[in-house]
């Protein structure tokens, strides 16, 4: 008896095959599941959870049209493969068949943008006892993008396999579906306030203040708990980081700036003497969550992307996914399994 997992990035599993809707001038181009939140992306956390649940093989599927936006994913867990696919439905079905052929009898199918703290093994045992083709998780509000599926039934159409009418597993634990930037803020607030089990990377140096490796905080900066300062982020003199704010990897908060109830996403530079409240900042874009407005700021002294780190990441990303896409096309043609590039070491944090 084997257990596998298929994690879908950048596509809505409610209607598999269609990519997640995109705003006209989006604050974040990448799928939200790939955005680093408190040090690690939701995708990394999902992979880690499956690895902990002793899932033997994990397959991450990325739609081709989103591939260039997905940053490289590295993991120390050896049985993770990442595949760029032209069409999601046939790819999921094919992956289930592959699992079946390799002796993996059951598989989780999950959207990477879903964060749930339910016991995955309990879900699996529930499914096995229910003796249904598939079991879908749901919470008090709606069905969730998380199923357990019998892989040997994968000859059926995926829509039928995952259709309503399958067994339902009710989740009482914490659940959040990242659909928009506002959800990122909610998740950060819940995590920093201890409302969910997700913990920031790095160390809790003072009660409620999490600081990741290589971060620099000026002694005249004030960080009010709870807050998170990410890897290699710089918090300069006379700044104030307060009310569940998170400063992600490689950010710089310049002199005298206040970050209140806000998320500053990776590699963002915020200029001097600014007051960023109830917002999500990403590069030169700022979304005010109170007014639900996204601004693109042209003045580089106010807000900008920390170009060097960002570009390096982007270049790697392009190389990686172009190679993957070519592999994907070739492998689709001959029906072979795609071999992922050798993963780099991935350090697990405090979680």
């Amino acid at each position: 008896m084997g257990l596998g997992a298929i994690v879908v990035v950048g596509a809505e599993l409610e209607s598999i095959g269609s990519t997640a809707p995109q705003e006209s001038a989006p604050l974040i181009v990448e799928p939200l599941a790939c955005i680093e939140v408190l040090g690690r992306s939701m995708l990394q956390r999902t992979i880690e959870r499956f690895a902990r649940a002793r899932v033997e093989v994990i397959s991450v599927l990325v739609p081709l049209e989103k591939a260039y936006t997905v940053p490289p994913i590295s993991t120390s867990f050896e049985n993770v493969s990442i595949q760029v696919v032209a069409e999601m439905n046939p790819a999921v079905t094919q992956k289930l068949r592959d699992f079946s052929r390799d002796g993996v009898e059951h598989a989780f199918v999950m959207s990477a943008s879903l964060y749930t703290e339910t016991d995955l093994l309990d879900l699996f045992y529930f499914h096995r006892e229910a003796r249904q083709t598939a079991t879908r998780a749901l919470d008090s509000e709606s069905p969730l993008s998380l199923w357990v599926v019998e892989t040997d039934k994968a000859n059926a159409q995926l829509e039928d396999l995952l259709a309503p009418g399958t067994a339902s597993y009710f989740i009482r634990d914490y659940v959040i579906h990242l659909k928009e930037a506002r959800d990122l803020r909610r998740l950060v607030g819940d995590s920093l306030r201890g409302r969910c089990a997700m913990r920031p990377s790095g160390a809790e140096l003072k009660p409620g203040i999490w600081v990741d490796e290589g971060a620099e905080i000026h002694r005249r900066a004030r960080v009010v708990a709870p807050a998170y300062v990410g890897r290699e982020a710089k918090v300069m003199e006379d700044t104030l980081i307060t009310r569940c704010s998170n400063i992600e990897r490689g950010c710089c908060i310049d002199y005298g700036t206040v970050i209140e109830d806000s998320s500053v996403l990776a590699n963002t530079h915020i200029g001097i003497w600014l007051d960023v409240c109830h917002a999500v900042a990403n590069g030169n874009k700022l979304m005010n969550l109170t007014r639900d407005v996204t601004l693109e700021i042209a003045d580089r002294s106010v807000m900008r992307t920390n170009a060097s780190a960002r570009e390096e990441s982007r270049v790697n990303s392009f190389d990686f996914y172009e190679a993957q896409a070519v592999n994907s096309d070739l492998n689709n043609a001959v029906g072979q399994k795609i071999e992922p590039r050798t993963p780099k070491a991935w350090q697990f944090g405090a979680n």
């Binding site: 009660p207 620099e216 905080i217 005249r220 009010v224 307060t242």
Partner: protein, 134 residues
């Protein structure tokens, strides 16, 4: 004034204006002049506070921060909270409902995880050396 382990809890006077503020600072000053002072100011007695009172709070916080310590507020009345909000200093302080909670919050991290003799932003915590801007 009473002490709970290394955390000092001090009650603020009923009126926190310029005169009372100075008197209060003179009382608190010796307690601030230690390494990593951990101070809780109990605001439950405050009936009246003006901008000089706010300045007193900021001064105390600044002195604590200079010595790698911290200052937290407890039992802030709605009236005081409004004044602090209007002056936009509410976000600078950690505020707790009771002095007990505030004192406990200083000790939430097990001491064995944090070296006690190093400033928390130093390389001793695996953080890079602090770069002082010129």
């Amino acid at each position: 004034m009473y002490s709970r382990g290394p955390v000092i809890v001090m009650e603020l006077p009923e009126t926190l204006n310029h005169a009372e503020g100075e008197k209060f600072i003179s009382e608190l000053q010796p307690l601030l002049e230690v390494h990593r002072p951990r101070i809780v100011l109990d605001c439950s007695q405050i009936q009246h506070m003006d901008s000089a009172g706010i300045e007193t709070l900021l001064y105390c916080m600044q002195e604590a921060m200079k010595r790698d310590g911290d200052l937290k507020l407890a039992a802030v009345s709605p009236a005081s909270a409004t004044i602090m909000e209007l002056m936009r200093v509410d976000r600078i302080f950690e505020v707790y409902e009771t002095a007990e909670q505030a004192a406990r919050s200083f000790q939430a991290v097990p001491t064995h995880e944090v070296p006690q003799d190093l400033p928390w932003y130093s390389s001793g915590f695996r953080l890079a050396e602090l770069k002082i801007a010129s």
